[in-house]
């Protein structure tokens, strides 16, 4: 029985790092190759030993697919391709390929900053890895090899994020990666056609949540920034190099424009230019509004946002600064934080998740006295705000996508076990499909019934259509013929053609059944009774009493003989060909019930 196997090495009942192995029709595909930012040792990468125990990586895996540029989906890729030794094809969309190295470099910097470059990929490795990447367009069917093909759909989560359909023959799997079903300020909503995959692997970060409108969070964000600036305070927004930072920049830029605000906004590391470049380059990936207004005004050309110099941090007066890295791990964002933390007029806004072991995590959990170098204590008097701008589909969105794609089964990843359990039940109830939620290292096996394409001979087709109704392309039709399986191909032909082609003689097989009937009368009288009985019941059939004393019901022959030992028992021989098996069996069962009593 053909099967699809799914084994998460990461994202199985967790949101740490995505890495899912899918085996479909003998092809092995790795979906995402993410990194866990909460660890500083080998635990940050998925445990690839499961794959390496199956022989050489490149021989085992047919391809790797990366859904988007976030590090929990692509962070382990250079490690996997340049250090573990995978040398096969890697697929991602064009924007992901362009932006991935920036994020990887950003994280490499944090790692080197912490410990020095030990057991971590280098810049050269990132480049070598990216050179192996094949970039794909949306809705373009890419042939990985003769049998395996992939197709990308818009996922909306971040610029370039895609869902991927993986197809081998008639079997298919859709992997959503992270997606968002509602459009936001610069991206559209995820979309997929009714592709009816055998399995839909969906993220489930907000499996039990119905999220409030992002507009509310945006308004709240602007309000907080505005209030702080108005009272002369400084706002620090720690961000990763690319992604959410640009979204918030657009937000502030338009707000500053509208309100005619004068306080400076700075962006560290000259990232605005780079982001601007990529967002311009991939304008087709943004939402309709941005695309429409692009000719009049490019949203990513910021008038108010300027490059930051570290000396500006000491300038008096209000300002807003976007600085990397995003979790206050180290570097510039942390340096600015230290300078500003002591003033209650200032504010730090954390626009995303922070892992343990970072200053960001500490302040979000409410710690206000932080130990610094040399056992000094930094008292955090500035306001600390957390605002999640992560763009994931909520429970409603996930159900909407399932409705859209109509999968035969669903598998949940990238979520917490308890929340997944709730959503799983909901999906099974509403869509009547199986829903799975394997933990990391657990394999889910699905049996599929793939369609097998069969060629049909023209003669048979003409004959069948001649006797039937006008063919309707949308309705399946049952065809009878002989299936010839030869040279890895299947053909349905008429039995005569099959005999001719294969050089075989025709033999007819008849089944004969004996039915004993208690009747003391003479044979011909008994036959007449049988004839009348059948004639009375089988009104729509042709029932004939033949001159030789036998009865024909369609092609079925009934003959009567007397049993030599017991004249009171007659034997009826019912004989039919295999084509009339149904009628033959019916007649036999009918006769076995006996004849009705005669009314004289």
């Amino acid at each position: 029985m053909p099967e699809i196997k799914v084994t998460p090495l990461g994202a199985g009942q967790d949101v740490g790092r995505s890495c899912i192995l899918v085996s479909i029709a003998g092809k092995n595909v790795m979906l995402d190759c993410g990194m866990h930012m909460g660890y500083n040792d080998d635990r940050r990468f998925p445990d690839f030993s499961y794959i390496t125990q199956n022989g050489r990586l490149t021989d085992f895996l047919d391809c790797v697919i990366i859904s988007h540029f976030h590090l929990d989906h692509c962070g382990a890729l250079p490690y996997f391709s340049e250090m573990v030794g995978y040398d096969g094809p890697i697929y991602m969309t064009h924007p992901t390929k362009a932006i991935c190295p920036i994020l990887l470099e950003d994280y490499r910097k944090i790692t080197v900053d912490k410990k020095g470059e030990t057991n971590f990929f280098t810049s050269q490795m990132i480049k070598d890895c990216m050179k192996k990447v094949v970039a794909v367009h949306l809705h373009q069917t890419v042939q990985v090899d003769d049998e395996l093909e992939i197709k990308a759909y818009y996922a909306g989560h971040v610029l370039g994020a895609a869902m991927f359909q993986i197809r081998v023959g008639s079997e298919s799997v859709v992997y959503t990666g992270d997606y968002n079903m509602t459009p936001d300020r610069h991206l559209g909503a995820a979309w997929i056609d009714k592709c009816r995959p055998d399995l839909l692997i969906s993220e489930s970060t907000y499996a039990t949540t119905i999220r409030d409108s992002k507009r509310c969070r945006e308004r709240d964000f602007l309000k907080k920034v505005h209030e702080t600036v108005e009272r002369g305070g400084k706002v620090l927004i720690p961000v990763f190099a690319l992604g959410r930072a640009q979204e918030l920049c657009i937000l502030l830029e338009t707000f500053w424009e509208r309100m005619n605000l004068k306080a400076p906004i700075y962006f560290s590391m000259g990232l605005t230019e780079k982001a601007n470049h990529y967002y311009k380059l991939f304008i087709t990936w943004t939402n309709q509004k941005i695309r429409k207004t692009f000719v009049q005004r490019n949203m990513f050309e910021f008038k108010h946002i300027k490059a930051f110099d570290r000396a500006f941090a000491d300038n008096p007066g209000p300002m807003v600064v976007f600085a990397t890295p995003g979790m206050l791990h180290a570097g510039q964002s942390l340096q600015i934080f230290r300078k500003w933390a002591g003033n209650e007029k200032n504010m730090v806004i954390m626009p995303g998740y922070c892992v343990q072991g970072t200053v960001g995590h500490k302040i979000l959990s409410g710690q206000r006295k932080l130990e610094m170098e040399g056992r000094q204590i930094l008292e955090v008097k500035m306001q600390v705000e957390y605002m999640s701008f992560s763009a994931h589909a909520d429970a409603k969105g996930i159900m909407q996508l399932i409705r859209q794609a109509e999968p035969r089964s669903v598998l949940l990843v990238h979520g917490e076990a308890k929340k997944m359990e709730f959503l799983k039940q909901k999906i099974e109830q509403e869509f009547h499909v199986n829903c799975y939620m394997p933990a990391n290292g657990e394999t889910t096996t699905l049996f599929t019934s793939p369609n097998i394409p069969v060629d049909i001979s023209l003669g048979l087709l003409k004959r069948e259509t001649a006797i039937g109704l006008v063919p309707d392309s949308k309705k399946p039709k049952l065809m009878h013929g002989t299936l010839i399986m030869k040279d890895n191909s299947f053909r349905l032909v008429s039995p005569e053609q099959a005999l001719k082609e294969l050089g075989l003689g025709e033999h007819q097989l008849r089944f004969t059944c004996r039915v004993h009937i208690q009747d003391p009368r003479k044979e011909h009288e008994m036959v007449l009774r049988v004839y009348n009985h059948l004639k009375g019941i089988l009104k729509d059939y042709s029932v004939q009493h033949l001159p030789d004393g036998s009865i024909m019901v369609e092609s079925i022959l009934i003959q009567a003989t007397a049993q030599s030992e017991d004249q009171g028992t007659k034997v009826l021989l019912v004989s039919w060909t295999y084509q009339d098996e149904e009628l033959g069996s019916y007649l036999t069962s009918l006769l076995k019930k006996g004849l009705p009593p005669t009314t004289t």
Binding site: T7, D14, G16, G38, Y39, R43, S49, Y50, R56, D59, H70, D72, G88, P101, E105, K109, D113, K114, G116, S123, K127, M130, K131, K132, D146, T205, T209, F240, G243, S268, G270, A307, R310, H329, G331, Q332, L334, Q335, G352, Y353, V355, Q356, G357, T358, V359, K362, L364, S365, G366, E371, M372, E373, Y386, S388, S390, A439, N440, G441, E442, T443
Partner: protein
């Protein structure tokens, strides 16, 4: 455990033992366990438990919970495992009857939570850590744990199953460690109880009809023979060889891969190395009967062994070469030269069937090529590989791949159809072609190898990844040949190759695909660098002529303005190398503008400096700095013209750069410059320089100090020391320490410093930042490279700062990980406490 942690531990344990308090992030628990692993390495576990009763209370408390979370239970199992690795601690917890409730039948085994993979995983890991003494082994045998582990071998979670298998290996090897004498047979009552349970289980599994059970057992044996080379392993083999031989003879395909691993693991053990050992008979049988892919793996493993019967080795070689032999014959009938194998020895029908099928052909060839490549790189090769026919077969594969080979049989036609455009096979074949460069001479190269390489480099159908491999293989051959003693001869023959190569390179530098442009530039850089550095290669001038006469240098220069930053960076590095060899500035000094007037073309130094100032991306700027370091180190003519001016201007630009790696590069440049300066004035470098007088030394010091002052070296270094990026500050600190050692010699400073400056107090970064601000506020704008006389600082001020700043203290703190405070155990414990109650507010989020 320090006092602060000891104080924080009880409330943390209370939180962890409270089912109402959720610890959402599993990394907390993992790090908590890491901490205890480190603690128990240095402290007595028993002492830890006795000093911190909250730990035992935590274990008891979790056991009493009606509905503990799976993550908490898993954590407790692992934590207990860490403590009980010490026998005294094991007894301590045993007396409190905790161990049976955790690892015995009363424990989670019988609870609903056992359904959770994380709990089973925690149980296995806990038991594994605990099994470090005989008491633990006895406990496991008595509480039925061994049977649980047997069951977990077939766990639905791969991680649990594989951990259970590793645990059984550990239990077996550990319990037999004390087994000094060689047992006569397995039924000896001397065998420890654990082994008496385990070995029949293994035997039974090997005879079972379940493929997964067989595989697990073979895997277990592979690990046992791999990690333990004691004599008892021989007895174990004698006990189990029968079912394994049965498997080999009757189920060779299902268990094939596992059998290969087992045989290779045994073959590497000295216990089985004697030629009479039954292992070799099994291995030989396996080579004959396993499928070609499995037999290929076994062959490759056997050929790497130092100790192996020659007959088995030769058999392995035949197996490995067979696919290549088939390819060779498929392209040429009859063979122009001896084939790889003697026909009478090989039955190639199976291989031919595999090679004629699309899905199996590429796999078999890739695997064979990868195995052979590994063998080619071995320094010790126990058999002679038939290099020439093997190389010919690899070239044939490549010829098939690009449609150049003429099939000589129907198999050849099929292979040809399959391999055309098959990038996987092309990449593997090019990898091994590069490996051949270690073995073969230029005469072979000038034959079919150079032709096929050029064909791949030229072909428009070559994919970017295949092209990169082609460049790598070409480079390996050229490097190898340039190092050969007969390089003159080599040059005469390869000159035409270089001409053809540069023509191809020109095209590739104009490719629309950035990956190709980049690979071409990387190849050019490495080639020029190697030939420039290779002292045996005497035809540098001829090579230079060929290079300069091509358009390659011009196209490379054009790529300095490529839209892709990776390519710009590679072009910078290539120009850095080319400028050494081609003296480009003198060759292409000017161009004509529209009015027919000559426009002075920018020198390469000026072009690179402009990139350093204007390029918006980090990679090209980093590349420029790296080129400048090379130029300064190797004495590039353009730099030597006015080194001070060059260094000063570069440092000034780098000082304003926001990229930390550009800054780190700038610091390396500063380091090279300071070392060169000190060396030139005679202060550093040669240990054999005769001792100079104090007066001479003082003059030398002043001279170098003046130079550093003019290029504003110290302003740059002090600025970098205040940088927020640790690697930058760390590098600056180490350079300053080295300079301080040279320049701040007590005696030599006496003349320059006033009395009140003699014993300054050590200051930190805040003081330095303030000083630097004061300097910059006093400074007037001045031309690059000329020190500002009006500024408040002078060389003596600099020396004073150098002496005053606490460089050693800073160095100590910069050498530590920048997150060492956040990652300390105190910080972890504080975070656990702080997180309690905030979960609802900051619900688990991600990116």
């Amino acid at each position: 455990m320090d006092r602060e942690c000891a104080q924080l531990l009880p409330p943390v344990c209370a939180v962890l033992g409270d089912s109402r308090q959720l610890v959402a992030d599993d990394t907390f628990l993992e790090k908590f366990l890491d901490w205890f692993k480190t603690l128990t390495e240095t402290e007595s576990s028993l002492h830890l438990l006795q000093e911190n009763p909250c730990l035992t209370e935590l274990i008891t408390c979790v056991l009493k919970l009606k509905d503990p979370s799976s993550s908490t239970l898993s954590f407790i199992l692992r934590l207990t495992g860490i403590f009980t690795a010490s026998e005294s601690c094991f007894q301590y917890l045993q007396q409190r009857e905790l161990l049976n409730s955790l690892f015995g039948e009363e424990g989670p085994l019988s609870s609903a939570l056992w359904e959770e993979a994380s709990v089973r995983s925690g149980w296995v890991q806990g038991v594994h850590t605990m099994t470090q003494h005989q008491s633990a082994i006895h406990f496991l045998c008595n509480c039925g744990a061994i049977d649980v582990i047997f069951t977990l071998q077939g766990d639905p979670s791969l991680f649990v199953a594989s951990a259970a298998n590793r645990l059984l290996v550990h239990i077996l090897t550990f319990s037999l460690q004390s087994f000094q004498t060689k047992p006569v047979n397995i039924k000896d009552c001397d065998w420890p109880i654990c082994a008496q349970k385990l070995i029949p289980h293994l035997e039974e599994s090997l005879k079972s009809s379940s493929a997964s059970r067989i595989k697990q057992s073979l895997k277990l044996l592979t690990s046992v023979f791999g990690c333990c080379h004691d004599l008892w392993t021989e007895v174990l083999w004698s006990q189990l060889s029968e079912p394994i031989t049965y498997l080999l003879e009757n189920e060779p395909f299902n268990a094939g891969n596992s059998l290969v691993d087992l045989f290779l693991s045994m073959a590497r053990s000295p216990v089985f190395s004697c030629p009479e050992c039954s292992l070799w008979k099994s291995a030989s049988y396996a080579l004959e009967h396993l499928n070609p892919a499995q037999a290929g793996c076994l062959s490759a493993g056997i050929l790497k062994l130092q100790e192996c019967p020659q007959a088995v080795r030769m058999q392995a070689l035949s197996v490995l070469l067979q696919p290549m032999d088939c390819v060779l014959k498929a392209a040429s009938q009859p063979l122009e030269y001896p084939g790889l194998l003697n026909n009478s020895l090989s039955d190639s029908a199976t291989i031919e069937t595999l090679l004629s099928c699309r899905s199996s052909c590429a796999s078999l060839l890739c695997q064979t090529l990868a195995h052979l490549e590994e063998l080619l790189y071995l320094t010790y090769m126990p058999v002679n590989l038939p290099h020439i026919p093997l190389l010919k077969s690899v070239v044939t594969v490549l010829q098939f791949g690009t449609g150049l080979a003429t099939p000589a049989s129907s198999l050849g036609s099929k292979i040809s159809r399959i391999l055309i455009g098959c990038f996987r096979v092309q990449r593997s074949a090019l990898d091994i072609l590069g490996a051949f460069s270690h073995w073969e001479s230029h005469s072979v190269f000038m034959g079919s190898v150079s032709d096929i390489l050029l064909a791949y480099l030229k072909s428009p159908d070559t994919s970017p990844t295949v092209l990169k491999k082609s460049f790598q293989a070409t480079l390996k051959w050229l490097v190898r040949l340039s190092e050969a003693p007969s390089s003159r001869d080599y040059w005469l023959q390869t000159e035409q190759f270089f001409r053809d190569l540069f023509l191809v390179l020109q095209k590739r530098l104009c490719s629309h695909c950035w990956e190709i442009r980049d690979s071409a530039l990387e190849f050019l850089t490495l080639l020029v660098k190697h030939l420039r550095d290779c002292y045996i290669f005497t035809e540098k001038e001829e090579f230079r002529q060929v290079l300069v006469s091509s358009e390659v240098p011009k196209f490379t220069e054009d790529l300095l303005e490529d839209p892709e930053s990776y390519v710009r960076a590679s072009a910078v590095l290539a120009m850095g190398q080319l400028s050494f060899l081609t003296h480009l500035n003198s060759k292409i000094p000017s161009t004509e503008n529209g009015n027919g007037k000559e426009v002075k073309k920018k020198s390469i130094v000026a072009q690179l400096q402009e990139i350093l100032v204007t390029d918006s991306e980090g990679f090209p700027r980093r590349a420029v700095i790296s080129v400048f370091i090379d130029w300064l180190r190797d004495g590039h003519t353009d730099v030597l013209k006015d080194t001070e001016q060059f260094v000063s201007s570069v440092l000034q630009v780098v000082n304003c750069d926001l990229d930390w790696e550009v800054k780190a590069g700038g610091l390396e440049l500063a380091e090279v410059f300071s070392a060169k300066t000190l060396g030139r004035v005679g202060l550093a470098g040669c240990p054999y320089v005769s001792v100079v007088s104090a007066a001479t030394r003082s003059t030398q010091l002043n001279e170098s100090l003046q130079i550093f002052y003019r290029v504003k070296l110290f302003e740059f270094l002090f600025g970098a020391l205040c940088d927020c990026d640790r690697p930058v500050a760390q590098k600056a600190c180490s350079i300053l320490i080295a300079l301080k050692a040279e320049l701040c010699d007590e005696n030599s400073l006496k003349e320059g410093l006033s009395a009140e400056h003699s014993f300054p107090e050590a200051h930190g970064i805040a003081w330095l930042e303030k000083t630097l601000r004061r300097w910059s506020s006093c400074a007037e704008p001045c031309p690059i490279g000329i020190a500002n006389e009006a500024g408040s600082q002078n060389p003596n001020d600099i020396l004073l700062v150098l002496r005053t700043i606490d460089l050693e203290g800073l160095n100590k703190s910069l050498n530590r990980s920048s997150d060492h405070i956040e990652n300390s155990p105190q910080s972890l414990l504080q975070d656990i406490l702080a997180t309690v109650g905030t979960l609802e507010e900051n619900e688990a989020d991600c990116y």
